[in-house]
Amino acid sequence: MRSGDALLDHLFRRVGFGASAADLQAVAGMSYNAAVDYFVDFDKQPDDVDTKVGLPDSVAITTRGQFSPNTNIEDARQRWLFRMVHTRRPLQEKMALFWHNHFGVGYTKVAGTVGGVLGTKMMATKGGELPGPQGHYELLRQGALGKFRDLLIEVAKDPAMLVFLDGRTNTKAKPQENFGREVMELFTWGLGHYTESDVYAAARVFSGWNLRNVPGTIANDPAAYQEFIYNAAQHDVAAKTFSFPISGGSNTIPARAMAAGMQDGIDLLTSLANHPDTARRLAGKLWNYFVSDLDAPDPAFVDGVTNVYIQSDTAMRPVLRYILNSRWFTNPGNFNARYSWPAEFVIRTIKEIGWAGFSVDTARVPLTNMGQTLFEPPNVAGWQLGRAWFGTGAMLARMNFAAAVASNQKFNLARSFGATERAQPDRVLNGMLQRLTPAPYTTAEMNEMLTYLTTGGAWTGNDAQMNAKAPGLARLVAGSGEYQFV
């Protein structure tokens, strides 16, 4: 819902998923800069969102047997959606989603290799809840605003990644190119900075970065896990020469003793993460995520982000603080200047229309129809963004999801309008546009919605009329083009 301050509304749409009344309460009275700090320094808020599962004023989850978000991927999806709705740290979830898109690991291949229970563990298990390492998404969540270099190294050792890009099978006799290529093409500096022979060399660098299996005692044992192991005997110890300098020095990673060979990979990842071209590539993606995907990144923005990134030794928290306080972010011309991702649309629709008695599970299949299944990006490059979200079927799925929420919340919506608002249809419309936050409508569009309210019988504002018109209007707004932008 609206705060009364367009810049703050913009901030909520970009660093979070829109604002509920409780969200607005949390920043009430803060200056803009203080609100930015509130979101960026999110570890000052407790990470207690999971304790709200099952509480009466929370959005519902649907259980099939026991709720098992660590071992059942559908429940893992529900947990993430739940967190997006109720987190006190919206930027953490927003960045986890950003990194999920950046690193592009998908559940199906992982589960196809290790099974559904372990596959879910690898994708989404929460640290400490089961034996073994935390899942891929939890890792992204923990490292959301930490140093990118650390995140990159953790992701390179992440079991889900080692399955997804086949690093688990990378040996000195048969180097595996998959991760070595994508770490340069997609995770760091991008096409144009390396050659085919660099791909070969990178594959050898990561030889022996494998997995160790810790089996369970029963079939599908939730205690079973796999974890990263540097398999020294499978590491190619010979020198690797690249077409570019490693961390500004020699083009060659020297031959090392077998036991010390893991440093090869650390050297390459460090060099890639620290490189200004990686910063520039990340800056472009951050521009599209936080500022605008209608306009190309402003070169001055890219320079600015790159400087902060390098000066902060790849730390993302200062980068985000810089972006959110920048003239590009706060420029009203960039309000509503990004095509919303399906997850953003779904969560904002729930937060703004209401969730009492609504289950986030209802969003799972519609999200797939909108083109965004969580834990299942279409490939390692992540989703196609911007206009690509708006195929005909996907747009229809958005309109129909708006109908599903509005229908579910029919009576709550109707009851939310008091006698004064009900007295006149334009007050109902205005009230709805305080609750939902589309980009501005033209007068002609406002008149169309007023016409809708008064079609089919004289305006009375009575319960029967409101029970029909309030959800109909909410669906029209949430299903309109203006609402598809954030």
Partner: protein
């Protein structure tokens, strides 16, 4: 009678009326299909970079076996389909019995070593290059989008059966609807009856309101408008009764939907169908089985069902299937029973007007420096047939347009005579 609109009844006449009571449902569709005569193109995209050497196996090349000790298809298992023009014997993967059937009917053309110079080994750049038909600038409009731009007027002229957007389908003015499941392609309202109709009418007026000064809003609204404009036609394919049973997987379902819309004559000219999992860095399998065999089963069984369905309905002559993937894979296997990203791949065309056969010549897989059929120090197959020449054949010879205008140049030279 209830499933026929008045227009359809008038078109199909008494035969359909009679059949709807007397004959199996698919015969009704055969009767209806008589009215559906426009040519269409069904693009089959194998996502991830198909390992062409496992699809069409050079089973007498000793280097195929020495370089792929774990994953080579044994010579005794390949489905022999003869030799190419250089005399090299070739066989289909053992799970491609469906394609062997079509080949033996003379309706499968295989273009070996299709690709382009300096092949990108990136999925994303590779897909864009095949999509734009422009290796030098793969960020522009798609070749099919440009074709659809040239025949404006129908929002259902193209139909993407996946919910991903592909550059190949990106046009300047057209936006190809992505319709994965016709059953859920319907409009929902929190209300019913007149109130729902009021709401839908308001939604249509809202979606038509964006002007040229709001191009991004207009883009979204166009998607909504095209949904409204196509709902009823798409709904008409939901109750389709096919003449064959399609495999129970996403690829089979998508092909069945395409067949339904061809049979129902809804007017679509270009369909996009894809199936994924071809990025086989690991677990391709051995002895003709394993992961790659499953992929081939999906492709071969699905395409045969589609082929037979259309043939039964008398519509095979109106349909051309064109298969591609973004690159071929490395010749030598890696340590994970898989193959990494490579260069030259293959294309296939299937249809009633296709001149079947094996086009182009197979690579010699011996990695010697003087072997011009390989590149990247003998690591990859080098291309022989420019994929754009195949596009040109399809545009000129099948879709009846001018390929030089669509492709931005004359790529007819060297085109295999597949149509």
């Amino acid at each position: 009678m209830s499933k026929f609109s008045r227009r359809e009844f008038l078109r199909d006449g008494v035969a359909a009326f009679t059949l709807s009571f007397a004959a199996p449902a698919f015969l009704v569709d055969i009767a209806r299909a008589q009215g559906a005569v426009s040519r269409n193109l069904v693009v089959i995209y194998l996502a991830g970079g198909n390992d062409a050497l496992s699809t069409l196996v050079p089973y007498t090349d000793p280097f195929y076996y020495s370089r792929r000790p774990a994953i080579a298809v044994p010579a005794g298992q390949v489905l022999q389909i003869g030799s190419d023009s250089s005399g090299k014997p070739l066989g289909l993967h053992p799970r491609l019995t469906g394609l062997q059937t079509i080949f033996n009917q003379g309706r499968l053309a295989i273009v070996q070593r299709a690709g382009y110079q300096n092949s990108s080994r990136s999925h994303f750049q590779g897909t864009d290059i095949w999509g734009t038909a422009d290796p030098a600038n793969p960020s522009g409009l798609g070749w099919l989008g440009r074709y659809l731009d040239s025949i404006p007027g129908d929002p259902l002229a193209g139909w993407n059966t996946s919910n991903a957007t592909y550059r190949a389908l990106t046009g300047l003015n057209v936006s190809v609807p992505s319709i994965t499941d016709p059953r859920v392609y319907s409009f929902a309202s929190p209300n019913v009856g007149a109130e729902a109709i009021n709401e839908r009418n308001t939604a249509i007026r809202l979606a038509s309101a964006a002007g040229p000064n709001r191009p991004n809003l207009a883009f979204v609204n166009t998607s909504a408008m095209e949904a409204f404009a196509t709902l009823d036609r798409v709904a008409s394919v939901v109750d389709y009764q096919s003449s064959v049973t399609y495999p129970n997987n996403g690829f089979g379902s998508a092909l069945k939907t395409v067949a339904a819309s061809i049979v129902r004559g809804i007017g679509t000219r270009v369909y996009w169908v894809q199936t994924g999992g071809f990025d086989t860095h690991s677990g391709q399998g051995n002895a003709g089985g394993g992961g790659y065999a499953n992929l081939m089963g999906t492709v071969g069984d699905g395409l045969l069902a589609f082929y037979n369905d259309l043939q039964n309905q008398g519509l095979l002559g109106n349909t051309l299937m064109l298969q591609f993937s973004e690159f071929g894979r490395r010749i030598s296997e890696n340590g994970s029973q898989g193959t990494d990203h490579g260069a030259g791949g293959m294309m296939m065309a299937i249809g009633g007007a296709v001149r079947g056969g094996i086009y182009g010549t197979a690579a010699n897989l011996n990695p010697t420096p003087d072997n011009t059929t390989l590149e990247n120090a003998g690591g990859d197959v080098t291309y022989q047939t420019d994929f754009r020449s195949v596009y040109a054949s399809v545009l000129d010879g099948w879709l009846g347009t001018n390929s030089t205008a669509i492709l931005g140049g004359n790529f007819r030279a060297g085109a295999p005579a597949i149509i």
